[in-house]
């Protein structure tokens, strides 16, 4: 029986190391910057499907697309900057300027710039009524002035001037511009001979001046802020409502322009108190103010001011403006000659441009090109912020575009934060909202980032399986840095934790089973125990012994089955008796013995008696029983062995007596 071939045993242990290699990551336990890693040496690297041991993590060992130093996240950021930028090309957020037809408007800084547009998007169009009244007043002034130009009476001019004061009462929209113009006109008037000689007109003007100052002093007292708020509910869906409340300092016109108003007030006061100017000085002062109106995008005031200018300084509107300093920032080309009429022309063109821009924005919105609509609206806003056409844009459209702008900003922030999963969700929403949202490049970039992270993680897994923990850690960190929210990172960590559990619990379970001699259970979990005990030489040796033993036992059991199948129960029994020497407690063995016992009872009885007598030293009787058993089963190897053994012992005994 010693010479029996053991294919199962030999094969099992031939392949056991290979089978255990992937699981020997348990040897990585202990240090665990990555769960499941330890510095202890383990099985040799499997030759296939693994990074070469000499290669650094991320250098393409077994990591697919994870190579060449990892993922270039800057590219994705640059792409996201472009894709998610709601600003028009004409906006320069860094310098806070807006360029229109080569002319620059300066707004200070990016935050202020964005804040003003956001405020516009949140302001309800339903507030347009009072703005329209204000615009109507300005239009009426223009009309009166043109009528005066035709009939040449001063009454029209005074009425127009009076309306300017009324327009100044719409402080939220006017911003004090009408009052400034009014004060400027008043001061220029005082120079005029006709006014000086007419005490009635002077009295009227003084009265108007007092009113002007009163209006200026009480402006903003009752100012309130209306905002568009978009609400969402499960039943009603999305709807836009208007809320009204006190104006936060940072959002109110007063807040935004408090400094400017201070300047306006001071300027008017200076105009009222200054000594009589010369005609030339007044003319230059007027020109400078018109230029400031233009720079402030108060295009209607430019038109108004130009009309007053033509009346006050007849025949000079075609002359070159001498207030060079005021127009220098607006007209970069210093060699260009500018006249008051040219200022008026530009103002008119700007007004037309705003109306065209609003139509373009509205049309883009209607076609679903919301990003384009947002950009057109933004351009139009910065040009025509003070023109009513801009403020008649629909509430819902404004709310939609405001949400789009916020989503684009949020998506960009998510890309910066490398929250690619959330960014993808938001991009889906953006695509649904805006047909013209250019998502492909950013989606491709996100895919690339995800793939790079997955590849790095795959490399980390392979390195961990090879017990190259340094490289595994490096690759893991790379995967996490590319995409921190990668769900597979948690999976990887969980697997590491499982390995730790397997390692600890495996030892415990093995000890229990070994102590109870439950070798059959140990055999059934041999691979798992192989992993868990890989770093424990004593237990590994025990495991190997058990596996060998059980393999030998299984061979005996298989042979016994074969003997039963050829109707040779005695042979089967003898095989089972040999198996019993390996593990007498094995359940399968004892079951087979129980099944055979009835068939081989006489034979077994003789063998048992032979054995008992042999044990008690009654060798002749033992020999006789072995011979009897042999008669029952002549091929019995146990009987034959017993006969030879007992015969020899008996002769020895007889010899000792001599």
């Amino acid at each position: 029986m010693k010479s029996i071939d053991r294919p199962i045993i030999s094969h099992l242990f031939q392949f056991l190391p290979l089978l255990l290699i992937p699981c020997f990551a348990s040897s990585l336990l202990g240090q665990a910057p990555i769960p499941g890693t330890t510095p202890a040496p383990a099985a040799k690297p499997a030759p296939a499907a693994a990074p070469q041991s000499g290669q650094p993590a991320g250098s393409g060992g077994g990591a697919g697309v994870y190579h060449n130093g990892g993922f270039e996240s800057n590219t994705l950021l640059k792409t996201s900057d472009k894709v998610f930028d709601p600003n028009s090309d004409s906006i320069d957020p860094e310098n806070g300027t807006f360029i229109w037809k080569g002319k620059g408007f300066t707004f200070g800084n990016d935050r202020l710039l964005g804040g003003r547009f956001d405020r516009y998007l949140q302001t309800p169009a339903s507030e347009i009524e009072s703005r329209n009244k204000y615009e109507a007043l300005l239009d009426k002034i223009l009309k009166n002035l043109s009528v005066y130009e035709q009939n040449g009476t001063w009454d029209g001019v005074i009425d127009a001037w009076d309306l300017l004061v009324q327009a100044g009462e719409y402080s939220e929209y006017d911003g004090g511009m009408s009052l400034i113009l009014g004060a400027l006109v008043y001061n220029t008037w005082r120079l005029r001979e006709g006014f000086r000689q007419n005490s009635d007109r002077q009295a009227i003007l003084r009265e108007r001046q007092k009113k002007l100052e009163f209006v200026l002093g009480n402006r903003y007292r009752h100012q309130k802020l209306s905002q568009i708020v978009r609400t969402e509910s499960a039943n009603a869906g999305t709807r836009t409502v208007t809320t009204e409340g006190a104006v936060p300092q940072n959002l109110s016109e007063a807040g935004l322009k408090v400094k400017e108003y201070g300047e306006v007030q001071a300027r008017i006061a200076a105009l009222n108190t200054q000594k009589a100017l010369t005609g030339k000085e007044a003319q230059i002062q007027f020109q400078a103010q018109l230029a400031r109106f233009l720079v402030d995008r108060r295009f209607k005031h430019v038109l108004l001011g130009a009309n007053f200018y033509r009346l006050l300084f007849k025949g000079t509107s075609q002359q070159v403006i001498e207030a060079k300093q005021e127009i220098a920032s607006f007209f970069p080309d210093s060699k260009m000659t500018i006249t008051v009429d040219q200022l008026a022309f530009l103002a008119r063109e700007a007004i037309n441009e705003v109306e065209t821009g609003m139509r373009a924005a509205d049309n883009s919105f209607r076609l679903g090109n919301r990003v384009t609509a947002l950009k057109r609206l933004q351009e139009t806003f910065f040009l025509g912020e003070h023109i009513s056409a801009l403020h008649s844009f629909d509430d819902d459209k404004r709310a939609t575009l405001f949400q789009l702008k916020r989503d684009m900003k949020e998506a960009r922030d998510l890309i910066i934060d490398k929250s690619y999963g959330d960014a993808e969700d938001l991009i889906l929403d953006l695509k649904a909202t805006a047909k013209d949202f250019e998502s492909r490049r950013i989606e491709a970039g996100i895919r690339k980032a995800k793939n790079a992270s997955d590849s790095a993680l795959l490399a980390a897994m392979q390195y961990r399986n090879l017990n190259q923990q340094d490289k595994a850690e490096q690759a893991f960190r790379e995967a996490a840095s590319i995409w921190p929210d990668n769900p597979k990172l948690k999976e990887f960590q969980f697997q590491g934790t499982q390995l730790v559990d397997k390692y600890v619990q495996g030892k415990k379970l093995f000890d229990q089973l070994y102590k109870r001699k439950h070798y059959r259970e140990i055999q059934s979990q041999a691979l798992e125990f192989g992993v868990a005990l890989s770093e424990d030489p004593d237990r590994s040796a025990k495991l190997k012994k058990v596996v060998n033993q059980m393999a030998e036992l299984d061979i005996y059991l298989t042979q016994a089955d074969a003997a039963v199948n050829i109707n040779n129960p005695y042979a089967a029994w003898e095989i089972l008796l040999k198996a019993e020497e390996v593990d007498p407690d094995d359940i399968q063995l004892n079951r087979k013995k129980a099944r055979l016992a009835a068939q081989v009872a006489p034979f077994v009885a003789e063998l048992q008696k032979a054995s008992q007598h042999e044990t008690s030293g009654q060798l002749p009787s033992s020999l006789l029983y072995f011979l009897t058993a042999q008669e029952i089963y002549p091929a019995s190897s146990i009987s034959n062995d017993g006969i030879q053994r007992v015969s020899a012992a008996l002769l020895e005994k007889l010899a000792s007596r001599q």
């Binding site: 002749p620 020999l623 006789l624 030879q644 015969s647 020899a648 008996l650 002769l651 001599q658």
Partner: protein, 139 residues
């Protein structure tokens, strides 16, 4: 007690005669009349036939008895020089029972045997129920 022929020649004839008389008296009046007695001087023809069935059932009860039996050599189980041989012989009873039983052939007890040969044997059920052949002859 064994009596050796060589020893007889060492002593005087008187002594031999004396001993012979004493032996005759002992045989005549002693307790050796029992069948199968341990005495080795009983001729084979007067011994009981080896009770095979009893031996197989309770060999201990036959210890010290001497029997005659017909047996056929089956095979040799073992041999130790200077001690003897264990030979398996086929023993048959008058009742038709036939079994193979190991017999011990002490060295020098007789000529060599071959499987299949039949002998008339004088056997002693010795210690530990070992059937020891004292002499044998072919039949």
């Amino acid at each position: 007690m064994k009596i050796s022929i060589q020893s007889v020649h060492k002593y005087s004839i008187v002594k031999i005669l004396f001993i012979g008389i004493i032996l005759a008296i002992a045989v005549t009046f002693g307790g050796c009349g029992r069948n199968g007695d341990g005495g080795g001087s009983v001729p084979a023809g007067k011994l009981e036939v080896f009770p095979l069935a009893i031996y197989l059932q309770n060999p201990g009860g036959l210890q010290g008895n001497r029997y005659k039996t017909k047996a056929q050599i089956d095979r040799q189980l073992g041999w130790k020089p200077g001690v003897g041989r264990l030979i398996l012989v086929q023993v048959s009873s008058d009742a038709g029972l036939a079994r193979k039983v190991p017999f011990f052939f002490p060295d020098g007890v007789g000529p060599g045997v071959l499987p299949g040969q039949k002998f008339l044997m004088t056997v002693l059920v010795a210690e530990e129920n070992l059937v020891t052949v004292e002499n044998y002859e072919k039949y």
